[in-house]
């Protein structure tokens, strides 16, 4: 296959962008859940 390197690079780019974005969402989700838990805890203590 001619020009295979660029094709492969493009495929990797697609996966990388998708993957990085999903990871960032997962991280924000985790932090947010943590915040909600701490806040609920604080409210229970009061």
């Amino acid at each position: 296959m001619k020009n295979f390197e660029n094709l492969f690079a493009a495929w990797m780019v697609v996966w990388a962008v998708f993957f990085i974005y999903e990871v960032s969402i997962a991280r924000r989700l985790a932090r947010l859940k943590q915040d909600i838990e701490s806040l609920k805890q604080q409210m229970r203590e009061r």
């Binding site: 295979f4 660029n6 094709l7 493009a10 697609v14 962008v17 989700l29 947010l32 859940k33």
Partner: protein, 237 residues
Amino acid sequence: MKVRYSSTVFVAGLIFFAGYAALFIAPDEKTMHAIQRIFYFHLPSWIAMFTALSVVFVANVAYLATRKPTWDALGVSGTEAAVVCCTIGLATGPLWAKPVWGIWWTWDARLTTTFILWLLYISYLLLRGLLDDPERKATFSAVFGIFAFLDAPLVYVSNRLWRTQHPQPVIGGGNGSGLDPAMGKVLLLCVIAVMGVMIIILLDRYRLEKLRQEFEELRLEYETLNLEPASIGKERP
């Protein structure tokens, strides 16, 4: 939860099969050979982007009409999904262009329009980041989103007129013109797969935003009950 897992697995499988089809099943193109196969992710990412942007426009108008935070959540999710698809398109384009035309980039109508749309919707996200009050953030980003959407056709038309007045090196015009039926089938599969990816991204982001709204409500409740600002989550934009 079960629905989300099974749909994510389904889309993942679809992507795998679509990728395989794009790389191995689709017939080889006469002049460009392997590199032409980028087309199978490149074009679908534009289609996905425009779909996402249409969703954003509807969400923006709906938010201003109803003031329901759900629409705002949909708006930001659609915008981030659109920006992801646009980034993929803008990144794969030059990778295709270099071996085929010998240049990384050219300022033709479609590419320029897409680049400007990318900038516009990133500005939408930056605007949201710089506004603090949630209701104001939702209202103003809806207004800006509507302006951006109205601007998009004007950007395309102006670039098109400009480029016909100042002709550029002729670029492979019709990517879809005279398509081999086998290529067409693979393309359709890839469009569905990429749309699936875009929808998954949008729904995940939507879930995140709804949770964030829930958190804001909780914080407001805390602050109202205790008459002091909550110490948690203040730094988060």
